[in-house]
Amino acid sequence: MARVVVDVMLKPEILDPQGQAVQRALPRLGFDGIADVRQGKRFELELEGPVDDAALARIREAAETFLANTVIEDFTVRIEEDGK
């Protein structure tokens, strides 16, 4: 079965208080040297059929209209190969 991954991240100019909270917690736990943390969402879509251009176009449409709110978020769509 083919898998397509959609990653959704807040746009760089939108404050990410969750990412900031994670970043502030890291040094307390001994994880130093991390300058910034941004938190996002990952969607794994298992396709019934082949990952062709038409399928990818539909997934991009779904990401644009539903999975991401493009007012505040950016998204990327990529195919995950078998065995990875």
């Binding site: 807040l10 939108i14 208080p17 969750q18 709110n69 007012v71 505040i72």
Partner: protein
């Protein structure tokens, strides 16, 4: 004929009954609308209430926006029907693109629940005519994702067109309900569309309609405003 104001119940709505009660106290007939029913049952206006529709999964309001009832609400809103979205309802209106911008996580990361002082900025919308511009009111506020954001261009446009309906009043002590509770850009608590029939508001006027249960009765004006608007139409 009695004015009919619909209140939509989504799975996870919390404040639908309070909104219905506010509608009744204002002198209109509340009509319960169901998220899966496209039919608005001849209502004259619609309230999208607060709560956690669909558990806030994906994003607040993102799934509700695609519910069958919203197809009709969006269509009618574009034709001029008054629509008020409170809290989660405001999030649904932004997700529906009936209003610009988005509501994001409070900058403090805390869920804030308190009585909040607001300044009514625009008293010309379908939902704010019973107020006067500059009037300060106190209504409850309760949200975890109430921080209004939009890009500078959109914010400037909202200001220039007078589409900021209410701001968090900041000129006073926090103990008295003053201050920006969530980091909203430009202290925005509520906005309207260009026509003034669609209003989104993060705080809860429907919880401030009776002395027994509310901090004030200053929220009732939203509901009496729409009633007058519809009677005079």
């Amino acid at each position: 004929m009695t004015t009919r104001v619909g209140v939509v119940t989504f799975p996870g709505s919390l404040d639908d009954r309070d909104a219905q009660r506010a509608v009744r106290l204002a002198g209109a007939e509340p009509v319960a609308l169901w998220h899966r029913d496209k039919d608005l049952h001849q209502v004259d206006a619609v309230v999208l209430p607060g709560g956690f529709s669909y558990g806030d999964y994906l994003r607040c309001g993102a799934i509700s926006r695609f519910s069958p009832v919203m197809d009709t609400v969006i269509e009618q809103a574009k034709l001029g029907m008054p629509v008020l979205g409170i809290c989660n309802g405001f999030q649904v209106l932004c997700e529906s693109h009936l209003l610009p911008g988005a509501l994001t996580r409070n900058d403090s990361l805390h869920f804030i629940c308190r009585d909040q002082k607001l300044r009514i900025e625009n008293a010309d919308t379908a939902w704010t005519r019973d107020y006067s511009a500059g009037q300060e009111i106190v209504v409850p506020l309760k949200n975890g994702e109430g921080r209004f954001v939009a890009d500078e261009h959109v914010l400037d446009g909202l200001e220039a067109e007078g589409r900021v309906v209410a701001r968090y009043a900041t000129q006073g002590a926090a103990a008295d309900g003053f201050g920006n509770p969530n980091g909203s850009y430009r202290d925005i608590a509520g906005i309207t569309n260009a026509a003034g029939n669609v209003v989104g508001l993060m705080p809860h006027p429907e919880h401030a309609v009776e002395p027994l249960t509310g901090p004030t009765t200053e929220g009732l004006g939203f509901f009496t405003s729409v009633l007058k608007q519809l009677v005079n139409a």
